[in-house]
Structure formats: C-alpha cells, structure tokens
C-alpha cells in the first residue's frame, strides 16, 4: 500500500492511527512525510487590496434608505 493510501486509510477510519500500521507501512509513511517539508504550498486564495476594486453585487454600495 502506498503512502497516500495509508494516509487515506488513517483519515477515513477513526479507529486507526499511525501506531496501528505495520512496521513496514509505518516506515514507508514516515519516509514520505519527511519529503513533504520540501513541498511548496500556496494555501491562500483570496486577496484584499487597500483600495476596494470589487464590484461584488452582494455588497451594498450605499447606505440603506432611511424611513421617511
């Protein structure tokens, strides 16, 4: 079983943890996890600018009308 499959198994089965793996599986997984530190990841996917360029229709651009 590959490292990704082992991670999937640990993620889907709440009764399993890394201590339940066989020594060979654990070694394979730990070796893979050690390589992850080298992987580059860009986790952010939203931007806010100091001047608002967004014309999002969900955002009211004016004050709500006041009762007469």
């Amino acid at each position: 079983m590959g490292a990704i499959s082992l991670l999937e198994k640990l993620g889907t089965d709440p009764s399993q943890n890394i201590d339940d793996l066989t020594p060979a599986e654990r070694a394979e997984l730990e070796q893979y996890l050690a390589t992850l530190a080298q992987e580059k990841n860009n986790p952010t996917l939203s931007i806010n600018e100091p001047t608002d360029p967004d014309d999002d229709d969900n955002v009211p651009s004016e004050e709500p009308p006041k009762d007469a």
């Binding site: 993620g11 939203s46 931007i47």
Partner: protein
C-alpha cells in the same frame, strides 16, 4: 452556442481522507477534467480518483502578483468549460470560503451561459470550532480577512469572538505570496489595543491537513503577536475581552410584545 460544458467547484475538506463527502468524490470521479489548488499531498490523493487531475499551484511564483495568478486559474477552468468539458475545480477546505477563484469562475461561467455551481466542504473555521471548543453562537463571532481589517475602517465587537484569517499576509501591499513580518503585525496589534488589553490572551490556530497531524494552537499575549511564529495557514483567534452588555430598552419592548401576545392567546384559549 453549444453550452454542454459545466463547472462545479468542490472542497475536499481540510484533512486528507477525513472530510471529503461522497458527493464531492463522485464529482471528481465523473469529471472530464479536474483542476486543483490544494496542498501537493492532497493533490496527489485527488489524482487517485481521476487521472485527468491537474494542479494549478504552478501558476504561483515568488514575486508574481496573486491577482494574475488567480486570473490564470480562472482562465484554465473556463477554457475547458468552453471546450464543453465537465470541469471540476477542487479547492482546499470549502471552495467558497476565502477563495476568490471559485466564486469568480462560477460567476463567469454562468454569465457565459454554462451550468456552474458550488458544493460546500468542511472549512478551516469548521475545524477551528471543533479543535478549540468554540461555539460561535455562545458570544457571537466576527470574522475578517486580516489585511482587509487593516486596510478599511471596521468595527470590532470585543464581547464576541474575533477571528482574523490569513494572518500570514496581514498588511501585505505587494499582493504576492510573501509572508509579512513583525512590523506589519505590530500595526495590527496597535489597532487591536483599541479594544483589548496588551495582556489579553489570543491564540494562533492552524488546522492540520493530514490525519497524522494535530491542530496547532498557540496561546499568547496580544502584545507578543508581532514576534510569534506565523505561517501562511495561521489564523488569529481573539476570545471576548468584554462582557455582553444587556440591551434593556429592546428587552423591555420585547417583553411588552410578549405580554400582549400571551394575553391574547390566553383569552382565546379561555374563550374570552
């Protein structure tokens, strides 16, 4: 126009294997093409469901404006939709939470006459509530993107929980993927001192993305935040710093409404 193409944006949740719904998995398996912007190990896992899975992460670059990166991601999704493909975009966590590309892509596809929609996923805030034992209904919860909170004049309610997302980019004017540093965070702390004491305890939270990891929750004083160990996935959690103040005027009004309604119902029941 032959608008057979479609776009659905889904989220596999935060933790590999633990959070993805069957519906999300089915979307991925049934897609003509899958684009992802997730951690590389999550992307490798997603590729096991559909060999036509392509990462969008290569569109980032160190000094590249993220607006360009996100436009290119959007273009990649839309190009395949226009080729009449069934396209699935997979964005970590929930595809609609702090993720501009899915929202913009869906809107554009719909404007061009294609079917496009979003399926929810387990987001970082859902994990935060579970990992930190916070009920947003207990005191209320305000959430802001950290830079937006700094760039615009916002009003905090210090009697509620306050969550500031994308702390690693707080105060960033470059719009590149760079981490900002202690000087920018000091500005943020100075802003927060308007509402909280310097000694107020705040937490830096990071959700795990692998089942072998634990959440990272670091408690410290607010005035220690500038020197804290921050990453691009760090979130600032500020517990309430003031008690809730009763709104006596509104409660009095509501009591009179209740009393009138209650009397009316009692009279009806008794046949008066």
């Amino acid at each position: 126009m032959n608008n057979k193409g479609s776009l659905v944006c889904v989220g596999p949740g935060m933790i590999l294997g633990a959070h993805m719904t069957e519906r999300c998995k089915n979307h991925i398996q049934q897609a003509d093409v899958v684009f992802t912007s997730c951690h590389p190990v999550i992307e490798k896992w997603l590729a096991t469901f559909n060999p036509r899975t392509y990462s969008l992460q290569h569109l980032y670059a160190d000094n590249k404006d993220r607006r360009n990166t996100y436009c290119q991601m959007q273009d990649a999704l839309l190009e395949e939709v226009r080729n009449n493909k069934k396209v699935v975009g997979v964005f970590y966590g929930h595809p609609g939470v702090f993720a501009q590309v899915p929202h913009y892509s869906i809107r554009q596809a719909q404007e061009e006459g294609y079917q496009a929609w979003m399926e929810p996923g387990i987001s970082a805030d859902a994990c935060l509530y579970a990992d930190m034992g916070i009920d947003p209904g207990a005191y209320g919860c305000q959430q802001f993107e950290a830079s937006q909170f700094m760039f615009y004049q916002r009003q905090l309610d210090p009697s509620a929980y306050v969550i500031l997302w994308q702390l690693g980019h707080a105060g960033d004017l470059s719009l590149t993927p760079r981490l900002t540093g202690a000087p920018e965070r000091q500005v943020l702390v100075d802003m927060l001192h308007e509402y909280y004491a310097p000694s107020h305890k705040v937490a830096i939270y990071e959700s795990p993305f692998l089942p072998t990891q634990q959440p990272r929750i670091i408690w410290q004083r607010l005035d220690e935040l500038p020197e804290a160990d921050i990453s691009l996935i760090s979130t600032l959690v500020i517990p309430p710093g003031r008690r809730l103040i009763p709104n006596d005027e509104i409660v009095t009004r509501l009591k009179s409404i209740y009393a009138a309604t209650h009397d009316k119902n009692t009279n009806k029941a008794s046949g008066l």
